[in-house]
């Protein structure tokens, strides 16, 4: 049994959302999504005026119904989608920049979809930049996996590779979108212990998205209910 420390303040009180984030100090490199609104084409709004912030070293749990738009928000923050309104900043600066890794890396639910099936694992790993033996050790990635094809690894093993690739790009923030949903309980626990270890070691901020409240209660410092921030606009009207 590992004696793993979770962030001491498991913040499980009613998880009511503060709409305006209070930044403790100005110098902190806080990731902020401000007044984000998004819709596909001219359809109805998936979210309007959403605010969310993550501090370095903090794990924020984002919960909500399936299909409510959590993944869309994750994609907006990680730069996969452009919001119709609003912006995502770190310490007030916009994130866009050319030909450099995005400072917010997304870890997806299905690792097999985000890996080129024609590449050996080592090449996938190097796509993120460099990798160190230390990183492999931290993520419990065995050296002989690197020579194999994606079809020869299990979902849990692939997810570790994806995580290592994301961390190889030395991001300030990670978004774990249902990262362990497809994995069995033991692998889920192992991967999350590793992530929490990295959070501490590298002072990375994590936005954990899941429908599993028990999991989010375990891993996050603070929980946010997506329906509350999404419907803010509606209730204001």
């Amino acid at each position: 049994m590992s004696e793993f420390m979770f962030h001491s303040n498991l913040n499980n009180q009613n998880n009511l959302i503060k709409n305006k984030l209070q930044l403790k100090s100005r110098g902190e490199t806080v990731l902020q999504a401000r007044e984000i609104s998004y819709r596909y084409g001219t359809g109805s709004w998936i979210m309007e005026d959403v605010n969310l912030g993550v501090k370095p070293g903090e794990v924020v749990g984002l919960t909500g119904k399936s299909g409510a738009g959590k993944t869309t928000l994750a994609k907006i923050i990680a730069g996969y989608l452009k919001p119709n309104h609003g912006r995502v900043t770190i310490d007030g600066y916009l994130l866009q920049e050319k030909n450099a890794p995005h400072p917010v890396q997304l870890v997806w639910q299905h690792p097999e979809k985000v890996i080129n099936p024609r590449w050996r694992m080592e090449k996938t790993l190097l796509e993120g930049g460099t990798y160190t033996d230390e990183l492999l050790q931290d993520l419990e990635i065995k050296k002989d996996w690197l020579r194999r094809w994606p079809s020869e690894l299990s979902g849990g093993e692939l997810q570790r590779i994806c995580l290592a690739r994301a961390l190889g790009a030395s991001p300030g923030y990670l978004i774990a979108d249902e990262m362990t949903t497809m994995l069995d309980a033991i692998t889920q626990a192992q991967i999350w212990h590793t992530v929490l270890h990295m959070v501490e070691k590298k002072n990375i901020g994590v936005l954990a998205i899941s429908h599993d409240n028990a999991l989010l209660n375990r891993v996050s410092d603070r929980m946010v209910d997506f329906s509350m921030i999404r419907d803010k606009y509606e209730t204001k009207k």
Binding site: G64, L153, G156, D184, A185, I186, H211, A214
Partner: protein, 277 residues
């Protein structure tokens, strides 16, 4: 939170008697593959697998992803790739299954609830997809009954699959399995990544299937869901079934569980300590 599992038990004096539906003994499966050069090697995907399913029973097969659970489902349905070699015995209603039997029974006596909701015909309205599976008269009536049973609104029958949410599509798939004459239902990860409400909505109709007297094999990696739905849990690891546990054995720190892996699985759940081995 648990679904009313007692309702179907035979001691309650229901209209059917429980009998053995499926019996898998010493089942093994290997693949012929190429490793690097010219050598053909056989890769043992399933080493030893034993399980039984009775009528009216839900048996969950729980294991890590990539442990060969889905292969078992495909083996029972006779849908293995050409380079697979199997050994052991699969008995259906006391009779050993041959490949021809499987092809014949597939869709009539053995049905599958697939993993992907993309299995619905995209060009056919939901109600019609269910009606085409109904034999006999009063198709519309029967289909409406089934829709009500799985908790689908009547107007859903006029919707095309793309107009359905993931949870609704999954319930249509379950409805199709319910109206078929199949007695054994194989459900391969039918509840991936659903929130509490959608999960509840998806597993309640599966319980209904068992209440009709059908046997259900419920394949999942999610032990939490398995415990809420199933009667028995078959724990599958490293190509072997290591333990068949009763649902009531899962409590506390797993004292009643026999195999250490089952204990680890139980204790790794976020609500049970989140421990890693």
């Amino acid at each position: 939170m648990r679904i009313n599992r007692a309702s179907h038990k035979q001691e309650e004096g229901t209209h059917f008697r429980s009998s053995r539906l499926l019996e898998v003994t010493d089942f093994a499966l290997s693949f012929t593959t190429y490793t690097g050069g010219l050598k053909e090697t056989t890769e043992q995907a399933i080493k030893k697998l034993d399980m039984t399913i009775d009528t009216g029973e839900i048996v969950a097969v729980v294991g890590a992803s990539g442990s060969g659970k889905s292969l078992l489902a495909n083996a029972i349905l006779g849908m293995l790739p050409a380079n697979a070699t199997v050994s052991g015995l699969i008995k259906y209603k006391g009779k050993a299954l041959t490949l021809q039997d499987q092809v014949q029974l597939r869709g009539t006596e053995i049905a599958m609830i697939p993993q992907s909701v993309n299995s619905l015909d995209p060009l056919m309205k939901a109600g019609k997809q269910v009606r085409t599976m109904i034999k006999g008269k009063n198709k519309k009536e029967k289909q409406r009954e089934i829709f009500a049973a799985v908790g689908l609104d009547e107007k859903v029958e006029r919707n095309y699959p793309f107009q359905l949410s993931g949870g609704m599509a999954r319930r249509v798939l379950i409805a199709i399995a319910m109206v078929s004459s199949a007695e054994l239902i194989v459900a391969d990860e039918p509840t991936p990544g659903l929130d509490e409400q959608a999960l509840e909505d998806s597993i309640r109709p599966i319980r209904l299937l068992a209440d009709q007297g059908k046997g259900v094999m419920f394949i999942t990696h999610d032990i939490g869901t398995a415990l809420r739905l199933a009667d028995k849990i078959v724990v599958f690891n490293d190509g072997k079934t290591i333990e068949t546990a009763n649902v009531k054995d899962f409590y506390g720190k797993g004292e009643a569980l026999r195999h250490p892996y089952t204990k680890q699985l139980w204790n790794a759940l976020p609500q049970n300590g989140f421990h890693t081995p």
